[in-house]
Amino acid sequence: MNRQISRVAGLAMGLMILLIVATTYWQTWARPALAERQDNAIQRVAQFEIKRGPILSPSRILARNKERIVGDRRFYLRRYPQGLLTAHVVGYSTVARARTGLERSLNSILTGSERSLSSLVDRSLDKLNGRPIVGDTVVTTLDVNGQRAALEALGTRCGSVVVLDPRTGRVRVIVSSPSYNPNDIEENFGRIEKIRADCTPASPLLNRASQGLYPPGSTFKVVTASAALDSRTFTTASTFYDPGYCSVYGKRVNNFDTSRPFGNVTLATALQFSVNSVFCNIGLKLGAKVIVKQAKAFGFYERPPLETPESERLPSGLYKGGELYDPRRDRDVDPGRMAFGQERLLVTPLQMAMVAGTIGNDGILMRPFVVEKTVTPNGKTRTRTRPTKIRRAVTPATARDVGDMMVRAVQAGTGTAAQIPGLRIGGKTGTAETGIDGSNTTWFMAFAGADGEKPRYAIAVVLQNQSRTGGATAAPIARQVLQALLPSTAKN
C-alpha cells in the first residue's frame, strides 16, 4: 500500500506547491495590472495613506490634501480650492470614483512612486517607521485669472476655451463649460448630475477642450490656405470669381450668405470675409490628400501631446462611423467641402489653438504642455519641462502671409469683435451649421501679441448650439479672455 500512499502524498504536496505558484503569480506578475484596475478599491484606499503632492499654478493652489483620521489610520483626501475653475485639467482623485485629469496621469509623480533608488530606500524606511509617504509637487502653467475669465465669458453656454503661448507651447487657459466642482465628486455627486447648460446632455465631466470633437467650419480655411500657399499653386493675390456658390460634382455648395456674391476676389479677401466658394475651388484644385497632409503637419490625426490622460485627448481629423479616417485616395472624400471645414471633419479646441499658434509662431508647431515643473517634498526641482518643437508645419513665408490675412479678418473682416487696442490680433471665425436652426457650432481662433513682437497667445474658442455666427458669439469671448490675461503677463 505504501507505493500508493507515496503517490497520494506526492499529489497532496503538488497541490500545496500549486498554491504557492498561484500566490506568486498574483503577488508579482499580475500585481501591476490589478493595481491599475479602476475598481481596485484597496489600491485606491491604500493610496490615500500617501501624502499626495499638491498641484499648483504659478500663484495658486489647485489641489491640496485634507487629513482625515479614521480609527487608527490617517488618510489624505483631496480638496480643490479653485473649485470649478480648473476642474477638467486638474481632474480629481477620490475614493468613490477613481481619478481623472492630471490627478490620474501624474499619479505616480504625485504619490512619489516614480523615483530614484536612493529615495526608494528612504521611502521603504519611512514605511517601516510608519511615516506617511510624501509625493512630489506639480506646478502647472495655468493662469487661474484666465481660467475664471474664460468660464465667466462662456456663462451657461456649452463650449471651451484654450489659450497657449505659441512660442513655447505653455497652456495658459484650458476650460470646458459647463464645469463642475471637483469637491462634489466624493460626497455630492447628485449636485454634479443636476448641472444644466445650453445643451443636452450637459456632460459637465467631459473635457471639451481636448475630448470634445466639433466641426471646425471656416476656421479650417486657415489649414487650406496654408496648403494652398505652401504648394505654390496659389498666392495671396490669386484671384477667383465668386458666384455665391461652388459646384461640386454638379451640386451647388452655397456661401454662408448667398444673397451677396463677392464677384472677383483675391485669396486674401476670401479669407478676410470667409468666402466658401473660393476655398471650395482651391480644395478641388489641390485635392483632399494635400489638405489632409497639411492638417497632419499642424498635428491632426495624433492625440495632442498634453500631460493629461490619453483617454481624455482625442485626435482631430476626418471621422467616419466614429473612427478616425485617413483617406487613401483623393476621391474618397469631397475636397471642395473639406476645404472650408465641412465633410466629416471633427476637431478639438486644443488642436485649433495649436493651428493658430503655429501661424503666429512663424510656422513652427510647439509641443503644448501644462506641467511647468515637478518639485520634491524638500523643495528641489526634480523635472522642468523644456519647450520643444514638434515640427515646422508651414514655411515662414506662408505663415507670414496667412497671418497677415488673419490680421485683416480681425481688423476689417469677420472677426472685428475680437479687436483689442494696442494688440496685433490675427483670427479666423467659424460657423458650422448642423442643419437645425439655432444650433450652430461657432468658433473663433486667433494669435495675439504686441505690435512688432512674436505673438504671446494663441486662442481657440468653441460654442455649441448658437443661433448667430462665430464672429458675433465666439470672437467677443476671445477678447474678454485675452484682456484678462494681459495684465498678469505684463508683470512677468
Binding site: V8, M16, Q27, T28, F48, G130
Partner: protein, 436 residues
Amino acid sequence: MSARNKELLNLGFAALVASAAFASVSIVGTGLVTTRWLGYVGVVFGLYLVAHIVARFTVPYADPTLLPLVGLLTALGLTVIYRLGPEDARRQAVWVALGIGVLAATLFWLRYDYRALERYKYIFGISAVVLLLLPSVPGLGHRVNGVKLWIKVGPMQFQPGELAKIFMIIFLAGYLRDKREALAQGRLKDLGPLLLIWGASMLVLVQTSDLGSALLNFGIFLAMVYAATGRLIYVVAGLGLFLAGSAALYNALDRVQQRVTVWLHPWTDERVYCSISGELDFRQNCDSYQLVKSLYSIANGGYGGTGLGKGTFTTVDGTQLIPYLNTDFIYSAIAQEVGLVGSAAVLLLVMVFVARGMRIALIAQDGFSKLLATGLTFGLALQTFIIVGGVLRVVPLTGITMPFVSYGGSSILSNFIMLALLLLVSNRAAATAVNR
C-alpha cells in the same frame, strides 16, 4: 532527545514566531509599544502546553512536529482574526481552548487502542450521511449565504459537515481495509459501494448546493480508494462520474453555474445581468465582487506584504471591503499583510504537516491505520487547496474554511479531532518501531 522534548522545543519556536506576529498587530493597532499582548500569547501558549502534557501521558512516541505546527497555524489565524476584529478573536480563542479539550478527551479515550473504532465503521458511515443531511431537515437547517451547511438548535449554530468528514474517513478506512483485495480484483459487482457513495455525494450536493464540501468528500474518498486498491481506473472512473454528475447538475443548480462563471470570467467590460441586484452591472461589482476584491487584497501584498496590522481592508469611511474576510477569505488577508514571503511560509507549514501526516501513514503497521492517516492528511491538504485555490482563482470559489486558520467553531473542533487521530496513529507506529 525524546519525541515529546522535541515537541516542547518546537512549541517554544512556534510561540516566538506567534509572539512577534501578535506584537506587531498590537503595536500597530494601539500605536503604543506595550506588553499587553504578552498575556494573550501566554494564554495560547499555556493551552498548547496543556495539550503537550496530555500528549506526554497518552501518546509519548507520537510525531513531535504536528502539535507545534497546529499551534503556529492557529496562533497565526488568531492574530489575523484579532487584527480584523478583536471580538471574534476572543470567541475563536474559546473555540481553540475547547478544541484542545476535545483533543485531550480523544487522546485519553483512545489512548489504549484507537483501532477499536474500526469495529464501529458502519455506525460512523451512517452517522456521516445523517450529519451531512441534517442541514436539509426542515426547521433544523439554516441557510447561510445561499448554502445549507448549518444546523441551528436554539442559539447554537453548528456545521455538521466538518464532523461528517472525519466520520466518513473512519468508515472508509475500515471498509476499504476489509474490501481492498476484492476491489483490487476489479469485479464489476464490487463497484456497487463506489457508485453508492457517488450517488450519496451527489445527493448531498443537490441538498446543500455546496460544491466545495462535495468536492472535498469525494476527493478524500477517491484518494483512499486509490491508496487501498492501487487501481487508477477507480479514480479515473470516479472523477469522470463526478464531473458528469456535476455537469448534469450544472444547469439545475444556479449557484454552481454562477460560481463557475465567476471563476472563468470575473471581470467583464460590459454590464451583465447581476444576480444580486437583478440589474445590469459589471460582474466585478456584482457576482464576482468578493473574488475580485480578494485578489486585489492579495496583489496589494506584493513580495513583503504591508506588514501585520497595516493591510487595507476597509474604505476611508471604515466599511469592510471584503465580506467573510476572517472565514472564507482569511488567506487573502494573510497574503496582503505578510506578502509572498509570509503566505508561502504559511503554505509551507501546511505542507510540512501534510508531509509528516503522510509519513505516519507510511510507517503505520496495519491497513486501517495507514488508510486513516492517509485520509485525514489528504483531507487537510485538499481542504486547504479548495479554499485557498478558490481565493487564488485556481478552482471555482466555494465557501469552506481554511483548516486551523479560519474563524469558526465547528471547523476548529473537528480539526482537533483529526489531529488527535493522527497523533494516535503516529504514536502506535513509532511505539511499535521502538519496541521491535
